[in-house]
């Protein structure tokens, strides 16, 4: 294998047959290049998808109060159900084992002002757990904490775009904004992968909201996240027992579909996971298809190359080349060319992917990438198949009697 004379013979052949060298090298380089680009773009598509659908924590159950539609236990139909602070407390006590985070959410909308700038933004009155349910990312300062709740502080965490609109580059932390008629101190700025609208929210402690609204203890909406270990079935079971709990507690007829509503993201989670699997399948299929096309390409070239060299091989055999030396020469040459050009394709493909980055974001392709293991394996597969594809005709050529190979012009 490491015979210097043989390598010299091979380099000689390669450099004197530039078109042939170029053709087989180009096929391999192109195959690898396209494989990496397509596979990488597929991964970019997956990135976008994950951002779109996996924004909120996917192990979330939303609980909304409604109006009863059936009379029950002496209550008339059409009664409005309300959630109270004690409901939160009881869920916390009774379902602690299943639940990760628990928060109320009271949504209002108000004109918000800082100095001369003003705009209307939704305010969400929440508990600290909301941060993890909404996957809020803090850029500056802090989120609402238990002491904000305890002391009913007028603290506000504002979205990135709220800060941009109102503060015009000024540092908002510690400044006061007017929400409606009441002054709140900005304690944090957040961003959210859920999109622009999410970044136009303002979060305040729910106890403060209740204080403002005549010290009531009403809660609009309750949001819980269940522990992921529960799985799909466990999440449905939890939803069912929460439903039973609320119906019992609020005297809603067991058969009444209205009274209280549940939105369980576990179904969404399952669907989006299935979608992700399908996407992965498509990406893999495209990758495999390209690879097979590449293999066919290099096989064709190899068959062609050996065919073209039949006469030369016949001459070499008449001059004393053994069949093994003929096969060895062809294989060593083809593996050498495919290895070099395979890595050229690999390098160029990765270079292009790296440069795409965010430029294709509007086509739903974000940060395309390919892990090096996959790219390396694909290159290796092409080299091996190139060698195998060269071996079969080489083996046949080595068996041809020189006189037969030399006969036709």
């Amino acid at each position: 294998m490491f015979n210097r004379d043989r390598w010299r013979e091979i380099f000689d052949t390669i450099s004197k047959n530039k078109l042939r060298t170029f053709l087989s090298g180009f096929t391999v380089a192109l195959g690898i290049f396209i494989f990496i680009i397509l596979f990488g773009l597929g991964n970019g598509l997956k990135n976008t998808f994950q951002e779109f659908f996996l924004d909120d924590a996917s192990n979330t159950i939303f609980i909304y109060p409604g109006k009863t539609s059936e009379p029950y236990k002496g209550f008339k139909a059409n009664r409005r159900i309300e959630f109270k602070n004690e409901d939160l407390k009881e869920i916390d006590e009774n379902f602690a084992f299943f639940i990760e985070y628990l928060t109320p959410r009271i949504t209002r909308s108000a004109l918000t002002r800082y100095k001369n700038e003003s705009n209307t933004y939704p305010t969400r009155a929440v508990a600290p757990g909301h941060q993890f349910i909404e996957k809020t990312i803090l850029m500056k300062g802090r989120y609402i904490n238990p002491s904000d709740l305890e002391e009913k502080k007028k603290s506000a965490v504002i979205g990135r775009l709220v800060a941009k609109d109102l503060f015009k580059g000024e540092d908002p932390i510690g400044k006061y904004i007017n929400i409606g008629t009441i002054a709140f101190k900005v304690i944090g700025v957040f961003q959210d992968d859920g999109g622009d609208n999410e970044e136009r929210n303002i979060y305040i402690p729910y106890t403060t909201r209740q204080l403002i609204e005549k010290s009531n203890d009403k809660v609009d909406q309750i949001i819980v996240t269940f522990r992921k270990e529960l799985g799909h079935a466990g999440a449905l079971a939890l939803e069912k027992s929460l439903k039973n709990y609320f119906k019992e507690k609020k005297s809603i007829a067991p058969s009444d579909p209205n009274g209280v509503y549940f939105q369980n993201l576990t179904d969404d989670l399952k669907q989006s996971q299935q979608f992700a699997v399908v996407l992965q399948l498509i990406v893999s299929f495209v990758g495999l298809g390209t690879l097979i096309a590449g293999i066919i390409g290099i096989s064709n070239i190899m068959v062609f190359v050996v065919k073209e060299r039949t006469k030369e091989l016949g001459i070499r055999k008449a001059l004393g080349a053994t069949p093994i030396s003929v096969i060895q020469m062809i294989l060593q040459e083809s593996v050498f060319i495919t290895t070099i050009s395979g890595y050229i394709g690999l390098f160029l493909g990765i270079l292009v992917l790296e440069n795409i980055g965010l430029t294709l974001e509007e086509y739903f392709i974000k940060n395309p990438f390919i892990d090096f293991g996959t790219a390396f394996a694909a290159t290796l597969v092409l080299i091996i198949f190139g060698a195998v594809a060269g071996y079969i005709p080489a083996k046949r050529a080595s068996r041809i009697k020189p006189i037969v190979a030399l006969r036709d012009e």
Partner: protein
């Protein structure tokens, strides 16, 4: 040098078989220059293939330089060919992307001769066929006669016991043919055993012995008075 004993060869053509060589007996001494003649279908190509170890006989013995040639596999045949035989073809069969020098040194490469040594040897052989100045030229830059001389130099480079020439002048005009025959005669004069397959009578007359084949048997085998090619040139 070459001893053929009752050589038979037949090819299967479907159900029937074609009997090509029907008992060839031939004895060629060292230093002979033999022309093998015959019309197409006479079996002369098959005979040459067997002599060149490109094909094997069904029956009979083939002894080359006291070595019985039998039970050949491809690798063994390649080694024997490299050691015993030099080939000259009608269509020259030079490797077109290699220079004259590289073509001539190729058999030495397969003998495992070191690079420097084989280049020196190849240049020496090119000198002997009068093409030293053309060493770095590609076959496409040479005339037909020059190509055949390079091919002869290449066949000689491995120092074979026997030179097998299959219609060596078939692709050349008369003058060039005589030049090539002149070269072959000179090599023969140095003691090399040479077999020339030809259908041209004037070429055959330049050998020392003519073997006439017809329908798979030798119908005539005679020594002749050699016509010197140099007298025509």
């Amino acid at each position: 040098m070459i001893k053929l004993n009752d050589l038979h060869k037949s090819y299967k053509m479907g159900a029937s078989s074609l009997h090509v060589l029907k008992g060839i007996n031939l004895d060629i001494e060292e230093g002979e220059l033999v022309a093998i003649m015959g019309s197409s279908g006479s079996g002369k190509s098959t005979l040459l293939n067997i002599l060149g170890m490109l094909d094997v006989a069904d029956e009979g013995d083939y002894i080359l330089d006291e070595v019985p040639i039998k039970d050949l596999n491809e690798t063994k045949a390649a080694k024997y060919r490299n050691k015993f035989l030099g080939f000259v073809f009608q269509s020259f069969n030079l490797i077109n992307y290699k220079t004259a020098l590289e073509n001539v040194s190729l058999p030495l490469y397969y003998q495992g001769v070191p690079r420097k040594e084989r280049q020196e040897a190849a240049l020496d052989y090119l000198d002997r066929v009068g093409l030293k100045d053309w060493a770095t030229h590609l076959p496409s830059e040479l005339s037909g006669g020059q190509k055949q001389r390079v091919a002869i130099a290449r066949a000689m480079a491995s120092k074979p016991k026997v030179l097998l020439a299959d219609e060596p002048t078939g692709a050349l005009d008369t003058t060039t043919s005589y030049e090539v025959m002149d070269l072959i005669q000179k090599i023969n004069e140095e003691g090399k055993t040479i077999l020339v397959v030809t259908h041209e009578h004037d070429i055959a007359q330049m050998c020392k012995r003519i073997v006439q084949l017809k329908d798979g048997v030798i119908i005539e085998d005679k020594k002749i008075k050699q016509v010197l090619a140099s007298s025509y040139v």
